[in-house]
Amino acid sequence: MSHPAYDVVIIGAGIVGAACARECARAGLRVAVVEAEFVGGGATSTGMGHIVVMDDSEPQFALTRYSQQLWHEIAPELPAEVEYMACGTLWIAADEQEMQEVRRKQQYYGARRVPTEILDPRALYEAEPHLRRGLVGALLVPEDLVIYAPCAARFLMRQAQTHSCDLYLDRVTEIRDDGVVLQKGGALSAGTVINAAGTWAPELTPGLEMRPRKGHLIITDRYPGFVRHQLVELGYLKSAHVLTAESFAFNVQPRVTGQLLIGSSRQFGVEGKGIDNHIVAGMLARACVYLPELAKMSAIRCWTGFRAATADKLPVIGKCPGREHLYLATGHEGLGITTSLATGRLLLDQLLQRTPAIPVEPYSPSRDMEVAHA
C-alpha cells in the first residue's frame, strides 16, 4: 500500500494529537494523523474538560496559562457542540489554613497578571448558594473555563484537515526512523514522527516513563443554575500530587445543560476500566461534604478514564533523546485539555526551531528519559 510522503506523522488524535496536527498543518507542513479508534477518544473523551491555570510549579503555570490564552483566542471559532463556557473556577477554602493558601495563590497569580478575586463567605454564598455553610472563602479565577473536549478535538482535526492533513483510522505498530508501520498494512513515511498516543505512548516508545492514573467521574441529571462555576477544593492539589495509591478531591463542574460532572479521584496501579464502587462512594461522599444537596440528585452515569502521568507531573513536549526524528507530546496527567493548544504550539516551535513563547526545557523528554536505542 503506498501513501504519499509526509513531513510529520502524528500518532493519536486525542486533543493533544489534534492540536499538534492543527499547528503543523497551518504552518504548511504535510501532516498525517494515525488514530486507532476515533478522533477525540482516549483520555480526551473521559475527562472533565476544565481549562485551568495551575500554580504548583513555575513550568506548570507557564504552560497552563499560555495554553489558556490560546483557548481564549480560539473561542470565537469554536462550534456550539464544544460547549465553551467561561464559568471560571472557585478554589474553595474550608478553614483558615486553606484561606492562607487562597491569599498566596492570589499573590502568585497577581504577580503573573492572572486576574483573580478573593471571595469572603458572604460573596462566596452569593456566588454559589448551595455550598455548605461554614466555609471561609474562595479564590475566583474568572478566566478559567470549561469545554466538551471530544468535540474540541474534532474541531481541531477538522481545522487541520482544511490544510494538508490526512487522517488514517489505523493503529501504529512500530515507529521507525523514516515513519511508522500501520497495523492494516503498509507504512507512512515521514521526516518526523510525533508520539501523542497518551497512555499508549510507552508501548511505542520504550523508555518513556509514564503510568496510567485512573479516575472516575459521575454525571447527574439536569439541575440548571445549581452550580455556576467549576468548584474545586484546595485539597485537590494535594490529591493530584500525592503518590499514594488512592486519593479523592472535591471537583464539580456545571455543563451547559445544567448537568453536574462530579469528580475527582486518582488511583495508581489499577489497570481495569471497570467501576470501583468504593472509589465512587468516596468521591461522592467528599462532594456531598461541600454540596449537601448533591445527595438527593439523580446520578445518570459513571465512567472511568486513565490519565498519562509522568514522575514530575509535567508533560513531555519535545524531541525524544537519542532519536533524531521522533518527538513526544504526552504525559499531561489531568491537564491535557488545558495544555493541548500550547503543546501543539511548542512542538511546532521546536520542529521549526523557532523561539517558543515560554521556555520548553522543563518539558523536555530528556530530563528523565534514558537515551533510547536508535
Binding site: 479508534e37 454525571i219 467501576i275 468516596g282 446520578a299
Partner: protein, 433 residues
Amino acid sequence: MSDRRQFDVLVVGGGPAGIAAACCAAEAALRVAIADDNPALGGQIWRGEHSSPSSKEAAFWYQRVKDLRVEHLAGTRVFAQVDSRTLAAETDTSVSELSFRSLILATGARERFLPFPGWTLPNVMGAGGLQALAKSGWNVRGRKVVVAGTGPLLLAVAAHLREYGADVRLIAEQASRRQLLAFSLSLWRQPSKLNDALSLRRQLLGVPYLPSCWPIAAAGKHKLESVSVRRGAKTWSVPCDYLACGFHLVPNTELAALLGCVVENGKVRVDELQQTTMPDVYCAGEPTGIGGLELSLVEGQIAGHAAAGRLDPARRLFAKRDKMRRFAAALERAFVLRPELQELPRPETLVCRCEDVSLSRLREHSSWRAAKLLTRCGMGPCQGRICGPALEFLLDWKPESVRPPVFPVRVESLIATAVRTDSETMHNSALRS
C-alpha cells in the same frame, strides 16, 4: 446507611415470569422476594391487575404469590452489584442491599421505538406505553387513537384501549398480508392462541386493520394532531389524539450483562434449567428471547423450581416450554421489520431524545462509541434504552458494555451501597477532610 436484606431466592422483575418463578421457589419453603420497579406486581401485561385480574390465569398467579407469602419489594430498582451475592437497590425513599443464594432475573422487555418525523410530539407513545398509561388512570375515553407498528401486541393494545373507551381509528401493521396469513396458519397448532386471536378480532370489529401499512410522520403544533400513514403507493393523514406505536419488544438484558452473564444477539443465554452462565443466576421470560405470556410463565416456573433445587418439577415443564418457543419463533419470523422503515427518519429527525441528537449528526460517525462520545447520544437518563434499539435497526450499531449504575439513582444510594468495612475507613477519612 442502607438496609441489608437476606433471601434464599431473589427475583428481579415482578411480571408473569417473576411471579411464577417466585411462587415455584417459595413452594420449597424458601425465603423469596420479588424486587420490582413498579408500584404493584404484574409487569406490563398484567399492569394494574393486582386488584382486578383480567384472566383466570392472572387471578391464579396473583393469589398464589400472596398465599405463598412471597415478599414484594415494590418501587424497587436494582442498580448495581455489591458482591457476587448481593445487589444494590433503591426506592424513592430508601436504599438497600439485597443478598441471595440464588438470583432469578425476570426483567422483561421494552418496546422498540423507530424514529420518524414528529415522533417526539407529546401523545406519540409506545403501543404498550399507552396501554400501560391507560391502565394507570390515563384517560383515553372518547379520544381518537391510531395503533401502529407490528405484532399481535397491536391488537391486544387496540382491544384494551377500546375497553377503556378510546375510539381506535386504525391499526397499521407493517407486516404484509402474506406474512400475517402465514402466522395465522401457524396458530392452528396452538388452539389457545387461536382463540385469543379470534376473540381479539371480534373485539375490534369496525376498526380497520391494515397490513403493509406504517406511520411516516406525526403532525401537530404542541401535541399530536394527526398521523400520516403509508400503504403501498398511497399515503393519507389520520386525525388523532394519540398514536400508540411499537415495533417489537427488546429484551431488558442490562442487569444480566452487568452481572457477567453471557448475552448473545440481545438475549441472555440460559441452559435447560434457565440457568445463565453465572453460577446461581437464572433468567426467565422475555430476556431469554421474546416469546409472550405463556412462555414467560413456563420459563419462570422452571427457573423457580431449579433455583430451589427441585429439578423434577422443572423438567416436567420442558415440553410445554418447547411448544411455546416454537410459537415465539413463528412470531419472530412473521413480523420481521421491513427495510422501508429504515428510511422513515429524515436527517433532522431526532434519534436520541435525551440529548436531542439528529440522525444526520449520528451518521457522521462510524461506530456507536464514537457517536456516543461526540454527540452525547445514549448518555442521557435512559442510558441508551430508547435510542439503542432504533440505532441497531437503522445503522446496525451494537450496544456497548454495561456499567453501573444500570439505572439512574440518587447520589446517596451510590454512596450507601458501596461502603464496605475495608473502605469504610476511607469513606470516613474523606468525610473528615
